[in-house]
């Protein structure tokens, strides 16, 4: 039969196994709760199931002449050349943020046409464009 030592070891391994299952489950679950989906203005317009108030990212080009700055915030329109969305943001912007340049905004939708951003990402340089935006623009240019 099994000696005490072997029994202990089996118990120990079983315990470790359970713990890792639990850990992985915990990680995946938190992951699903905290991923940020990236959408283009068109996707926001077309998709029925887009959640309001949940953190997500929107990207596209800052429309020419759409930038308005007042005491509280910065407002601009992001376009993917098919649809547009109005974005409002307060805080400093990255140095590469400008009209007619690519931008990714992180925040949440307040309704289908209005997005409140908590962070503006424009980490790309003048030759580089985030792959997400490049894809959208190439698709719509056709």
């Amino acid at each position: 039969m099994l000696t005490k030592k072997v029994k202990n070891r089996i118990l120990f391994l079983f315990f470790i196994f359970l713990l890792s299952i639990f850990a992985i489950f915990f990680i995946i679950k938190s992951l699903n709760k905290n991923i940020l989906y990236f959408s283009s203005p068109t996707e926001i317009k077309e998709r029925e199931d887009i959640p309001f108030g949940k953190a997500m990212r929107v990207g596209g080009m800052v429309k020419k002449g759409s930038l308005i700055i007042n005491q509280k915030n910065i407002q601009f329109v992001v376009t993917d050349f098919e649809n547009e969305i109005l974005i409002s943001y307060s805080g400093t912007v990255p140095s590469l943020f400008a009209e007619e340049k690519g931008v990714v905004a992180e925040g949440s939708l307040s309704d289908k046409n209005f997005f409140i951003a908590s962070r503006i990402l424009a980490k790309h340089d003048e030759n580089y464009m985030p792959p997400e935006i490049k894809e959208i623009i190439e698709k719509n240019a056709k």
Partner: protein
């Protein structure tokens, strides 16, 4: 000219690598106890030539020799000398040359400083290290050659990315490179140990110094990067869970686990297989991180101009490394017997390893999940900081408690007295936490637990320090410093997180903004000429509403020519109890300036405690062999 010298030197290093591998494999068959003289000589030549090649590139940058493409693309005659030199490793090709340099330097040092170890083990280590050198040298020569020439020779260079024009560029990359590439030597040593049957205690002794060196440099490099991000990127944070930061954390978790396991291997001669796995894993993760960042798969603040062909080469070399490592490991793996008592130091060190493994898996999943989703179902997502915070922070609580108690346990078996002392200290920590909670502000249950655990670790380490003063047991000191540093780090991050103030608004010149704690008066702007940029300097007068103390903060917008680029320089007033942090930006020359104002308590203490963690490691390195 320089191009030819540089390439010749690299080719010489390449040939020497082959010669070393050849001679070392010949020497393996000879049964004498000492390594042949000519292998030392070849290695000495190799290290000389590779260092010379690095200096050749530096000379190219100093003289602005635009016949080298690399210099043309990354330098400019108007750049200050300091940044010309530091710019050498501020780009992909130059940093890869630094990478190969460190591989060679560690290879040589390991050969010279391990004379009292088994000959076969040393020769195999040398062979594997030279295979790594060859792999990266081929990559350097074929794909990313810093000495490629250009004709006709351009008159002016394209300039260094302004965001990199910072003193930190001089130290941050070299520190990290020593830390990450230094791991290569015990990757090689682990393979050698398997092949030459040189395991257990002696193996632990041969690599532990190298593990500590690379741990210290890695930790320091990450901290310097974090400080740099804090003052340069203008978000006022110091850790963003940016892919590149995650990539640097992965090997750090592995190496920290390894450093602790080696203690068990050395003292109790067990956990050999696990230590080997960690040795292999640390370097593999270092290379993986490099691959992900350089290939452009992950976007981050480190935008190396990316190139898919780089990714393919590194990926194939990486697969080769992993494949050969696994083959050798499973072929040579021998079953070990583990006998651990629950109340022993071994168990606590194992617990440390489990936590490290958990953190590692979490960060790895968070980092790779978006890539998988993109490839599999073409869904674009990103994983934000909340994920990492939610998964990792709760686990830090038991981690810190074990971290405090663990070292007090003896090897093999211990008494219960330790538990009573710990229980008492937890109660004291709870009271201190209650005090903070009551007088300074309310926070969540989770934060309460974190504060209690952190204070407990701090108190415990302080008591240990008191004991150290009494019994002068030097072995304890490095551990006490590092663990105390970690406790303080978590504590101050917690305080900083709970009690930070942040205000975002837009102001015209001359306007005044009243916030809850300060009146911010945007008095005027002035323009100044820097060495190679023009700076628009904002003059802000801040009046503290509580005590009416007036302070001036001067954030800058810098405009660099060729090509015209903007950077925003935050104005930071550091004090012993808090930092004032103010950045301003401007879009399309609007008359409104965007202002971000933050008050961050105990910022400097976060740096101090993080540096303490590293300092513990350096103290350990200074301990002499007989004390160790």
């Amino acid at each position: 000219m320089l191009s030819n010298i540089g390439i010749s030197l690299l080719v010489l290093v390449l040939i020497l690598s082959f010669l070393i591998i050849y001679n070392a494999s010949l020497d393996l068959k000879i049964s004498s106890q000492s390594v042949k003289k000519n292998i030392y000589k070849l290695s000495l030549f190799q290290i000389t030539f590779i260092i010379l090649s690095f200096f050749t590139l530096i000379i190219g940058f100093i003289n602005s020799d635009f016949s080298l493409i690399n210099v043309y693309e990354n330098s400019h005659t108007a750049k200050p000398l300091f940044y010309k030199i530091a710019g050498t490793w501020g780009n992909h090709e130059g940093s890869l040359l630094l990478w190969v340099n460190i591989l060679v330097i560690f290879s040589y040092l390991f050969l010279v400083f391990n004379r009292n170890h088994d000959k076969k083990f040393r020769l195999y280590t040398l062979i594997f290290q030279n295979i790594l050198i060859l792999g990266f040298l081929f990559f350097l020569l074929l794909n990313s050659n810093p000495f490629n020439s250009i004709y006709p020779i351009p008159l002016e260079g394209l300039g260094l990315n302004p965001i990199l024009q910072d003193p930190a560029l001089a130290i941050h990359p070299p520190l990290l490179y020593v830390g990450f590439v230094g791991c290569s030597i015990y990757f090689s040593a682990a393979m050698a140990s398997l092949l030459s049957d040189y395991g257990g205690k002696l193996f632990a002794q041969s690599i532990k110094t190298w593990v500590k060196i690379s741990w210290c440099f890695q930790t320091l490099g990450i901290i310097v990067g974090s400080i740099w991000a804090y003052y340069e990127l203008g978000w006022g944070g110091f850790w963003f869970w940016d892919p590149v930061e995650n990539a640097s954390l992965l090997p750090w978790f592995a190496i920290t686990a390894l450093m602790h396991s080696l203690i068990v291997l050395e003292k109790r001669n067990t956990l050999y297989a696990w230590a080997i796995i960690l040795c292999l894993l640390t370097f593999i993760l270092s290379v993986t991180g490099t691959f992900l960042v350089r290939s452009g798969i992950l976007n981050s603040v480190h935008t190396f101009a990316s190139d898919p062909s780089r990714g393919i080469y590194i990926l194939s070399f990486l697969s080769f490394m992993i494949f050969s490592a696994l083959t050798i490991f499973f072929k040579k793996y021998k079953k070990e017997n583990y006998n651990f008592n629950l109340k022993s130091k071994e168990i606590f060190i194992l617990a440390n390893n489990w936590f490290m493994a958990f953190f590692l898996v979490t960060v790895l999943i968070g980092m790779l999940y978006p890539i998988f989703l993109d490839v599999l179902i073409n869904e674009k997502i990103s994983v934000g900081p909340p994920f990492f915070n939610i998964v990792i922070i709760p686990l830090v609580i038991p981690f810190m408690i074990l971290m405090a108690v663990g070292p007090k346990f003896g090897w093999i078996k211990s008494k219960n007295k330790i538990f009573y002392k710990a229980l008492f200290l937890i109660l004291v920590a709870g009271v201190i936490n209650l005090f903070i909670f009551y007088f300074f502000g309310k926070y969540s249950l989770l934060s309460n637990l974190i504060f209690i655990a952190a204070i407990f670790l701090i108190l415990h380490s302080l008591l240990d320090f008191k004991n150290f003063i009494n019994n002068k047991n030097k072995l304890e000191l490095p551990r006490i410093i590092s663990h105390l540093g970690f406790g303080l780090l978590v504590f101050f991050i917690g305080i900083n997180h709970q009690f930070s103030l942040e205000e975002d608004f837009n102001l015209k010149v001359g306007e005044v903004k009243k916030t809850s704690a300060y009146v911010i008066d945007f008095e005027d702007i002035s323009i100044e000429e820097g060495k190679n940029y023009k700076a628009i300097i904002g003059n802000f007068k801040l009046t503290n509403l509580k005590n009416n103390i007036v302070q001036y903060l001067n954030p800058e917008i810098r405009i660099y020519p060729n090509p015209e680029t903007l950077t925003y320089e935050a104005a930071i007033k550091t004090k012993i109890n808090s930092d004032l942090y103010l950045t301003m930006s401007n879009v399309s020359r609007s008359e409104y300036y965007n202002i971000k104002f933050q008050k961050k308590p105990f910022m400097i203490w976060i740096w101090i405690s993080a540096l303490m963690i590293t300092f513990g490691g350096f103290v350990q390195l200074t301990l002499k062999k007989n004390e160790n």
